[in-house]
């Protein structure tokens, strides 16, 4: 028999023990009878010699290691009974712990989705991506590029260089290439829809090996200019467009008007070469010239065009260092072989690729740690609260504990019992928290959503979340259980058993409890200050001057495929849409721009006053945007000098530009820029000068935090980039005007989807998501902390008042007025609160610095916030101390003196 068998087949084990012991006694009795002793006497003697049967049984159970278990069960049963007896206390405990643990769990769930989740492919931990950077400031950029660069990000590579590297690779299983592409237009059964997709090299599916749930993957043969065009779709797209019907396989859909055949469906967990990606259509690199004709058509043939992301899995046993050295040599050779004219060799390195293109961790890591810290603070306050309530209760239970000790329970046994009760409460709170975390798992991602489309973050609960919730439950149980457990064994057995014992215990001031309340108040103040700072930041950002009027402006995007609308046919398309929109009822003005305003997107190109030597513009190029006629009127940006754009500024006349005041000031100091010209620093040997026709007031461009940058506006018909955002100033209600917009665009081209319809204010709000999340969560935490602190203060003051009933009665009998008693209790409350607030202010001043970069127009020690938080907390403290104070002041002296 082993321990677990004994544990789970307890009844059998008990009955066997019974049988065995009875056999012993019976045999002994029989032997005694055989010696001539009468049977009654024999049984009596047998029992006597055996000893106390129940005690021996208990010893047997202990030998089997079952005693601890039995005691635990007993303690638990007792604990449950105690909880039932104090439903109010239990509710406060479970709710406050549940909220604390729930908040932590929800944030952890979010964190593990953002920080820990990797691409759903085998051995993602061995994936590496290639990266290069131009380190030398004097070096030339090695060619045109399409993609993003930055520290910690993988960089794009030219197609031929990739192939060269792949041919000579010996350290990775294979090198695969891919490119993320956005806003493709996919037409199924005549319905066009914008989708994001991924171009993949022919060996991508074979080497990276993502799981498929239907059909076949893209094979190397598919990645050839002569192959028939095929695509693999995502599970989400399959479900949305085809209801997971098997008929989707083999179906021909059109992708940017190119007919392609669906050959397979990815498993739901594979979201492309990016953890948490939302790519829906995967197609071979060889389709790029047809589907995404960029520049001169085929990027595959341009040796110095940097656009493909390259990834590979480390071979077993190859270290990062060895792989880095081998790949750098490969890169160097391939670079010289494919671009012999380039001299400046970029710096090469490999980076971790388990998350693919995902870069959310770069922007979210700090906020997540901050949120976890804040949620941890809330939990700490809840723990302090419970420790306090349990401490107060342990005093009222002193008699019980003394009795237990008097009857022979050891101190550790009593301590264990109190801890078990605490753990029981903690696990109830933990279960509630897990449930809350589960319901709330989508709440935090939803805070990051733009109001017109979801963020695509879909956190799942997995074993890590459960382990986390379990661990913090255990820690909280210990945190709030240890002090009461320790205290309960300090009980003096003698005085504890006497009815009046607690009068003589010389420690009625509840020092430990008060210290806990002070801690609670100071932590709450910290949270309140945080909430105040983030709220003020959000408020400051929302009210800051942006240089244009965002009210009543509706935005939508149009992305006409270049294959269908090569320049200047695209310009004509935009003009037709613009003209038709302008005559819609309720539309005051219509314009368009290459980049939407305050959407975290921008374009920067090097331009300098014609004839000036190269200067700062090379290092810090001005910001550029192409805008339609009416742009300045629609956004209410005043033209301070010269003229605005008109419909006549098209491609049949020389290019013109409007610059903002800051550019004018910085590039044409003390001069009138109107009539002067600027030239591009890049375009060939003989760039055409562009005449400045006007100067506008400064307006913010891509982000609301910084100052308005030096900006050059070009006329959209002269500088068409393809994709554009239309901006309508309208007083009409959004839904009705959106339907009309769609109708207008459909009437011009039925395959052209209207994308991303939103208002300018929504667009601005979207760039403030992080600030909004912080303001919302810290305010929530702050309110929670206030509630917990008020419960704490109420608890400790009620407790002190009830302990001092006798004293108060004597005071009143001697003539103290009730107002005196009232103010005495309130004074004590105020003292506690003020000590806590002082400690909280000091610690807040020390730690808010850490969040300084997240604030806007605000010092981390903003006096208004600090004073307001302190004031609010004082009021709450006094209010929660008032009820016990009233109770004390209305004590009936006669009653109080008889009390106890």
């Amino acid at each position: 028999m082993n321990f677990f068998k004994n544990l789970f087949q307890r009844r059998q084990m008990e009955s066997e023990m019974d049988t065995e012991l009875r056999f012993h006694i019976d045999s002994f009795t029989a032997d005694l009878i055989r010696q001539g002793i009468p049977s009654d006497e024999a049984l009596r003697r047998a029992r006597m010699e055996f000893g106390a049967i129940e005690a021996k049984k208990e010893e047997c159970r202990e030998s089997l290691g079952l005693r601890l278990w039995d005691e635990l069960r007993g303690d638990c049963r007792y604990g449950v009974r105690m909880m039932k007896q104090n439903p109010g206390f239990t509710a406060v405990a479970v709710v406050s712990l549940g909220l604390g643990i729930g908040a932590n769990t929800a944030i952890f769930t979010f964190a593990q989705e953002i920080l820990l989740k990797t691409m759903a492919v085998p051995h993602s931990e061995r994936l590496r991506m290639l990266n290069w950077a131009v380190v030398d400031p004097k070096a030339h950029f090695p060619g045109p590029a399409w993609g993003s660069f930055g520290p910690g990000l993988a960089s794009p590579f030219p197609y031929r260089l990739y192939q060269e590297m792949r041919r000579h690779n010996e350290v990775l299983d294979d090198l695969v290439a891919f490119k993320d592409v956005y806003h493709l237009s996919a037409t199924v059964n005549g319905q066009a829809e914008p989708v994001d997709g991924m171009l993949v090299s022919g060996n991508f599916y074979r080497s990276i090996a993502p799981k498929m749930i239907a059909g076949r993957p893209i094979a190397p043969e598919d990645d050839s200019l002569s192959a028939s065009p095929v695509v693999v779709i995502s599970d989400a797209y399959w479900a949305r467009r085809f209801g997971r019907s098997a008929e989707a396989l083999g179906k021909i859909i059109s992708l940017n008007r190119v007919p392609v055949t669906i050959i397979g469906v990815n498993a739901p967990e594979f979201k492309g070469a990016k953890a948490g990606g939302t790519y829906e259509i995967f197609f071979p690199l060889s389709l790029q010239p047809q589907v995404l004709p960029i520049r001169d058509g085929s990027l595959l043939a341009i040796d110095n065009y940097w656009w493909l992301m390259v990834m590979g899995r480390l071979k077993a046993g190859v270290t990062d260092q060895a792989a880095g050295i081998a790949l750098e040599a490969g890169f160097r050779n391939a670079f010289h072989a494919t671009m012999p004219e380039k001299k400046d060799f970029p710096h090469f390195s490999i980076i971790k690729g388990s998350r693919g293109l995902d870069r959310r961790q770069l922007e979210f890591t700090k906020p997540i740690y901050l949120l976890l810290a804040l949620a941890g603070l809330v939990l700490l306050i809840a723990c302090a609260n419970l420790a306090n309530l349990l401490l107060a209760r342990s005093t009222t239970r002193q008699r019980e504990m003394s009795l237990r000790l008097a009857m022979g329970a050891t101190r550790s046994r009593v301590m264990r019992q109190v801890l078990t009760e605490a753990m029981l409460l903690a696990s109830l709170g933990g279960a509630a928290g897990l449930l809350l975390g589960y319901w709330g798992r989508n709440f935090i991602p939803s805070l990051f959503d733009d109001s017109w489309h979801p963020s695509g973050i879909d956190p799942q609960m997995d074993w890590r979340v459960f382990a986390f919730a379990f661990a913090i439950t255990l820690i909280t149980g210990l945190l709030f259980g240890v002090a009461p457990a320790w205290r309960s064994t300090r009980a003096d057995v003698n005085s504890g058993l006497q009815e009046t014992g607690r009068m003589s215990t010389g420690r009625p001031r509840a020092f430990l409890g008060k210290a806990l309340v002070v801690c609670q108040v100071s932590l709450s103040l910290l949270l309140l200050v945080g909430a105040g700072l983030f709220l003020r930041t959000l408020l400051n950002l929302r009210t800051t001057a942006i240089g244009f009027n965002p009210e009543h402006i509706l935005l939508f995007d149009i992305n006409p495929p270049r294959s269908q609308y090569p320049w200047p046919k695209g310009v004509a398309l935009y003009q037709r849409i613009e003209e038709k929109l302008a005559i819609l009822p309720g539309v005051q003005s219509v314009t368009l721009s290459a980049e939407p305003l305050l959407a975290n997107s921008m374009d920067r190109n090097c331009f300098r006053p014609t004839g000036k030597p190269p200067g700062p513009a090379e290092q810090d190029p001005p910001w550029t945007n192409s805008v339609g006629p009416n742009f300045f009127e629609t956004f209410g940006i005043p033209i301070v000098n010269g003229r605005s754009f008109t419909a006549r500024d098209n491609h049949s006349v020389p290019d013109v530009a409007i610059v903002n005041r800051r550019f004018a000031r910085e590039s044409f100091p003390n001069e009138n820029p109107v009539g002067r010209t600027i030239t591009s620093c890049e375009r060939g040997d003989n760039p055409t000068p562009i005449e400045i026709v006007g100067v506008s007031a400064d307006a913010k461009y891509s982000d609301i935090r910084g100052e308005a940058p030096p900006t050059i506006y070009f006329s959209f018909p002269q500088d068409n980039k393809g994709r554009a955002t239309f901006e309508l100033k309208t007083a009409a209600s959004t839904p009705s005007i959106v339907a009309e917009i769609r109708e207008v665009v459909r009437s011009i081209d039925k395959d052209l989807p209207v994308q991303e319809v939103r208002t300018q204010t929504q667009q601005i709000e979207a760039t403030l998501s992080q600030e909004r999340v912080f303001a919302t969560l810290t305010s929530g935490f702050g309110i929670l902390a206030l509630i917990l602190a008020s419960i704490g203060i109420y608890g400790i003051m009620s407790y002190t008042v009830s302990r001092r009933t006798n004293e108060i009665g004597i005071r009143m009998a001697l003539g103290a007025r009730s107002t005196v008693v009232l103010s005495m209790v309130l004074r004590e409350t105020l003292l506690l609160a003020l000590i806590g607030i002082a400690a909280g202010l000091a610690s807040a001043a020390a730690v808010t610095r850490l969040a300084a970069t997240m604030l806007y127009n605000l010092k981390p020690t903003d006096p208004l916030t600090f004073v307001a938080a302190a004031f609010l907390l004082t009021i709450i403290a006094l209010a929660s101390g008032f009820i016990p104070a009233r109770r004390a002041s209305s004590v009936d002296p006669m009653h109080a003196l008889r009390h106890e």
């Binding site: 049988t19 065995e20 056999f23 012993h24 002994f28 010699e49 106390a52 005690a55 047997c60 089997l64």
Partner: protein, 113 residues
């Protein structure tokens, strides 16, 4: 007959192992055998036998099976496991060394120092 000796602390386990090493026995049988071998010179608290047996079994030194007793009743028979045999040997050696040392000390006469 002299008054039976109380068992030395910690020696009951060893005696049980020894008793069982001579052949499988039920609890009462173990008691009888120890008394028989010791010629009733040892006093064993009957009830203490069982916690010891459970402990030894929990440690894996003895194993038990249910069987029929001499008077046709269900009884639990204990036997020594391989680990139990090694343990018995070890404890016997330790005991002998201990008694040698203690005996040597106690029999020391003054002039031997």
């Amino acid at each position: 007959m002299a008054k039976p000796l109380d068992l030395l602390q910690g020696t009951l386990d060893m005696l049980i192992l020894k008793a069982i090493s001579l052949g499988p026995l039920h609890g009462y049988g173990i008691l009888l055998r120890i008394q028989q071998i010791s010629k009733d010179r040892l006093e064993i608290q009957q009830g203490s036998l069982y916690p010891a047996l459970y402990r030894l079994e929990h440690q894996g030194w003895i194993a038990s099976v249910w069987g029929e007793s001499e008077n046709n009743r269900k009884a639990k028979y204990y036997s020594l496991t391989a680990r139990g045999k090694r343990q018995l040997q070890l404890e016997a050696e330790n005991w002998n060394r201990m008694t040698d040392v203690i005996g040597g000390i106690l029999s020391t006469a003054k002039e031997e120092l």
